[in-house]
């Protein structure tokens, strides 16, 4: 591998994004996205079913488990999906070589998505990429069996990805027109997910007013509980910011704004045309701050795409941040004397005044998780814990 020295620094080169759909739903989302995004990046479809792959236009197909299934579907069996992916692991790994961010899309409940997606995600992680998976959970009418399989698949995926972004299809349906038929319901779900994928890609690949820092994005996801939700809305006209925020509050993915209010971390992405103004971004951010709670961390990125002249697309990814591991309770110097009753009791003297500079007494280890051994915080100087007196 050859490269120029300047490219050593990741920040100086483009973020390389790979997008792939897995299984029937994943391929449908890719095909629907390809139709609406003719000049977009390469979209990959991974499936066992050769017929579905050949009818999904505009995507790069990767058939898996050909030996095992002869190009047929898995018949809804996740185990077959997993085996199919494992057999073609090398091919799958090749897709992700050199990537920084891998965006996967799949539907859980069936065979290929449920079984193969965790294997695909593992291969992507092994390439050192940040891995995000958009997951569509079954509609209620698909039956309890698929629901159950979906939940199992979800568990496996969470272990193999940095973030799983859930789209419970039923929730999407709940807000839709009652006259919506089954086909339309699926199409609508595909579109919702596809829009989110596209907006993420654009944040990393379009010129922008505010560049989304990949390292920040990664840290947001890596500190998240892995429970994420995302919604994407579009609006136009002079009041487009207000409308976009209203749309966000109505988005079924966010439980009518409830999730927005309790999220700990948010990625706010805005795609607009060359007419996008900084003051609009400021207003937008202010409005979102109004909704979210005070401590919520907000990360913003923008993309400018000439297609968006006169309108904006607002996408928000929510993450519930994992609380940092709490500091181990180190008794303050004064009380230590009372609690440390033991054979060395008499040797204990008031601690040096210099320790007051650092209430926890651990100096440079404040920012890292403590080294705890049998209840003792080893970051605290040994002579302090052992009550050894200096200056004699």
């Amino acid at each position: 591998m050859q490269f120029h020295r300047e490219n050593r620094d990741r920040a100086l080169r483009e973020t390389r994004v790979v997008i792939a759909g897995i299984g029937g739903s994943g391929c449908n989302v890719m095909a629907s996205l390809a139709r609406r995004w003719p000049d977009g990046p390469e979209l990959i479809g991974i499936h066992t079913d050769a017929a579905v792959l050949s009818s999904s236009h505009g995507i790069r197909p990767l058939q898996i488990g050909a030996e095992l299934l002869n190009g047929m579907s898995t018949g809804g069996k996740p185990d077959m999906g997993r085996r199919a992916a494992e057999r073609d692991r090398d091919e799958i790994s090749r897709l992700f070589r050199g990537s920084d961010l891998v965006i996967l899309v799949t539907g859980l409940g069936g065979g290929t998505g449920t079984g193969a997606a965790p294997v695909v995600a593992e291969a992507a992680e092994a390439a050192g990429s940040l891995v995000l998976c958009f997951v569509m959970l079954p509609f209620d009418f698909e039956g309890p069996h698929r629901q159950e399989q979906a939940l199992q698949g979800l568990g496996a995926l969470k272990g193999a990805t940095d973030a799983v972004i859930q789209f419970p299809n039923q929730r999407v349906l709940a807000q839709a027109d009652e006259s919506l038929n089954v086909t339309d319901a699926f199409l609508m779900a595909d579109r919702l997910v596809g829009d989110c994928v596209r907006s993420l890609w654009e944040l990393f690949n379009r010129t922008s007013l505010i560049r989304l820092d990949f390292a920040d994005f990664r840290s947001l996801l890596m500190h998240s509980e892995g429970a994420c939700a995302m919604a994407c809305v579009e609006s136009e006209g002079p009041d487009r910011v207000k409308h976009a925020v209203a749309g966000l509050l109505a988005a079924p993915q966010f439980e009518a704004g409830a999730q927005l209010r309790r999220a700990n971390a948010l990625l706010v992405g805005v795609t607009g045309g060359p007419d996008l103004k900084l003051v609009e971004l400021q207003n937008l951010l202010d409005e979102i701050r109004e909704i979210t709670h005070e401590q919520a961390r907000i990360l913003m990125g923008t993309a400018v795409d000439p297609d968006y002249q006169g309108r904006i697309s607002l996408s928000v990814l929510l993450a519930e941040e994992r609380p940092e591991p709490g500091p181990v309770e180190t008794p303050p110097a004064e009380t230590r004397r009372d609690t440390d009753r033991g054979r060395e009791h008499k040797r204990v003297i008031p601690l040096q005044t210099t320790l007051d500079l650092d209430a926890r007494g651990i100096g440079r280890f404040e920012d890292v998780s403590p080294t705890v051994h049998q209840g003792a915080n080893l970051d605290v100087p040994t002579y302090v814990r052992r009550g050894i007196r200096l200056g004699r």
Binding site: M1, R5, A126, G128, T354, P381
Partner: protein, 399 residues
């Protein structure tokens, strides 16, 4: 086979080190390039600030590449930290081959069984190392092929670690466009670099005193008996001095290096050390006995923790004839004396063996881990296969 140099990297708490080396015909490792940069952004062996680490890595890579006149695009990496633990697992298979002689297939089968440990999902096997085979649960042998038995049993040392940490290593290296060829435990690699055949024969404990971590390896009964790591290291010694004497970190580090000792000497008496004013630091006189007392407490505790950890894994210090110190902390005055008191064994500083080339690297115990890694990587490549120790993780990394 035309050989090309191989790179080993250690992203440590005190330094980031890149070594480029190749194997000479007489099995000697030749170091042709080295890059060392003081480490920023690593605490207790764990990356806490990726940007800082990236710039240190770039710096070290550039030095090593220039010296060796190569481009490093792939490297072997050593890791450390108290998430690394070891256990022994036993596997057993009946011998079915004709004549009751153990065949290669059965050796493979028993290896697979002994390797099959149930770890929590967040953990992964870093190394699986065959310790010894038993024929009919009685006779211990190192190579069972062709021997007669009804049952073949194997004790396997499993060194396991947090899966996340591996991923983070791969990601960190990716930031500087270096692919990870394999990952190994630093304590294991430094042990293998410094142990002489005689020391292996007699049994030894190798303790790698690093900046953020203290790694250990126990070699007993001609096998690697245990290994582990504590997230306590030289950084803690410096921090203790800084807090205890009210000094900035930099001054405390200098004081440790120039006047520090792991044992308290009666001669220190009321001697003082004068620290010169520098930058915003106004200068200060500190008592030598205080410095020694602080360091002694920390080092004594560290050695005791290693000893207790070894005892807990069911081994006894009587099983080894000596203790070998390596890593940057081995330079600390009095460390050898203190270790020999606590382990009640002969103690000495271990230096990497069978290495030639750039002098700074080959003489210092502080490079034992990356040197050991390099030796293993080069040897296993030249033999055209993964050695027994490396390669366990390669599948996890490569997918």
């Amino acid at each position: 086979m035309p050989s090309s140099p191989i790179a080993a990297i250690e992203v440590g708490t005190s330094k980031v080190c890149v070594l480029v080396g190749d194997l000479l015909e007489d099995d000697q490792l030749m170091i042709v390039g080295q890059g060392v940069s003081p480490s920023r952004g690593v605490r207790k062996g764990q990356v806490t600030d990726l940007d800082n680490v990236t710039s240190c890595l770039n710096h070290a890579l550039e030095q090593a590449e220039e010296q060796a006149d190569v481009t490093v695009s792939e490297a072997y990496v050593v890791i450390s930290g108290d998430h690394i633990q070891s256990m022994t697992n036993r596997g057993s298979v009946p011998v079915r081959s004709p004549g009751g002689l153990v065949a290669e297939e059965e050796v493979e089968d028993v290896g697979d069984l002994a390797r099959a440990v149930a770890l929590p999902t967040e953990r992964a096997i870093l190394h699986s190392i065959a310790q010894r085979y038993y024929l009919d649960d009685q006779h211990a042998v190192l190579r069972p092929e062709g021997m007669e038995a009804a049952r073949l049993t194997l004790d396997m040392l499993i060194i396991h670690c947090l899966r996340n940490r591996i991923k983070n290593v791969v990601r960190t290296l990716k930031e500087v466009n270096v692919e990870v060829a394999d990952i190994a435990f630093g304590g294991l690699m430094s042990g293998m670099a410094v142990l002489s055949p005689e020391q292996k024969q007699g049994g030894a404990i190798v303790i790698d005193l690093g900046g953020g971590t203290t790694d250990y390896l126990v070699y007993a009964n001609m096998a690697i008996a245990a290994a582990g790591s504590l997230s306590v290291g030289g950084d803690h010694v410096t921090n203790d001095i800084a807090l205890g004497l009210g000094l900035p970190h930099g001054q405390a580090e200098e004081l440790k290096k120039n006047s520090g000792s792991a044992v308290v000497s009666p001669a220190a008496g009321s001697q003082t050390v004068a620290l010169q004013p520098e930058g915003g630091f106004p200068g200060k006189n500190v008592r030598l006995s205080d410095i020694q007392t602080i360091i002694n407490a920390r080092m004594e505790e560290t050695f005791e923790l290693v000893r207790d950890s070894i005892l807990r894994s069911g081994l006894r210090t009587e099983m080894v004839s000596g203790v070998i110190l390596t890593g940057g902390g081995a330079h600390l005055e009095g460390a050898v004396q203190l270790a020999s008191e606590i382990f009640n064994r002969e103690c000495q500083i271990g230096r990497p063996r069978n290495v030639n080339g750039l002098a700074v690297v080959t003489e210092g115990p502080q490079y034992a881990a990356p040197l050991g890694m390099l030796q293993h990587a080069v040897r296993s490549r030249n033999r055209g296969r993964k050695s027994g120790i490396l390669g366990a993780l390669i599948n996890l990394i490569k997918g």
